[in-house]
Symmetry: C2
Subunit: 128 residues, 2 copies
DNA sequence: GTAGATGCAAACGCTTTGCCGCTTA
DNA sequence: TAAGCGGCAAAGCGTTTGCATCTAC
């Protein structure tokens, strides 16, 4: 099978994702990695994001009404905060949802997991 | 400004949304309303969904990683359950998130609202 | 030297828009 | 009868794919 090669583009893309304080969209990754690699093609970003995800190096984060974002794998169970002013997305710690896996909700719904996103304004935007 | 007219298409579209037990996607609305109105154009669904939303008759429901869905307005604060088997989405009652509007999370994030989605299998799919 | 990776452009799939005949009021 | 509405097809837009070239190994 195909042997993965180490390229400047791939490094820049993974580096951008690892260096962020929240999950990034493809456009954001392209923007950030493009600073190190001028002329970086958007198709290259899509391809590398996909292969990094397939390898398990990064994880897709789906937020309501938004394009998928990506963050390094292994951050454990956590949720996100979306600033409706600056449109940035941040990681949160802890989980205020007291529904365990395997629980059954009224209506007979058996729960395997959940996704929670908070909306509001971040510290930077509050300050103004 | 434009005076809204009552048409068969519009009735069928709104009727499909009101008759469902959870929010519907545009494709689902087209499918359901199309049974009453053969030849119903997808553009007509998009246009009516948009105008119903603009009027406030229906509300957009954004779930992680999915196309927007629509439900009648006025159902109050609630969340959704997504069956990963049959891919249907259901309304839930109540809210297990003990974070009020106006609260501030660690990191200085001021909360205006939140979105919670549970994943798992619904009663029908559990039974099998 | 060779298989895999990149960049460009074309192809795609879904949503929106333009156009014009149809329908509601 | 007139203006909004619906259907069709074209236009947009973000994502994926094909292809020739380049590059890591």
């Amino acid at each position: 099978m195909a042997v993965k090669r180490k390229t400047r583009q791939r490094d820049a893309i993974f580096g951008a994702i690892r260096g962020a304080d929240g999950p990034l969209s493809v456009a954001e990754i392209h923007e950030l990695a493009g600073r190190a690699i001028p002329g970086l093609g958007i198709a290259t970003v899509y391809r590398n994001v996909r292969s990094l995800r397939d390898e398990g190096a990064i994880t897709a984060v789906e937020l309501p009404g938004e394009d998928p974002r990506y963050e390094p794998s292994g951050r454990g169970h956590h949720h996100h905060f979306r600033c409706t002013d600056c449109e940035r997305t941040f990681d949160l710690e802890g989980c205020p949802v007291g529904v365990e896996r395997g629980a059954t909700l009224p209506g007979g719904y058996r729960v395997d997991g959940h996704s929670l996103t908070f909306y509001g304004s971040c510290e930077d935007c509050n300050r103004v």
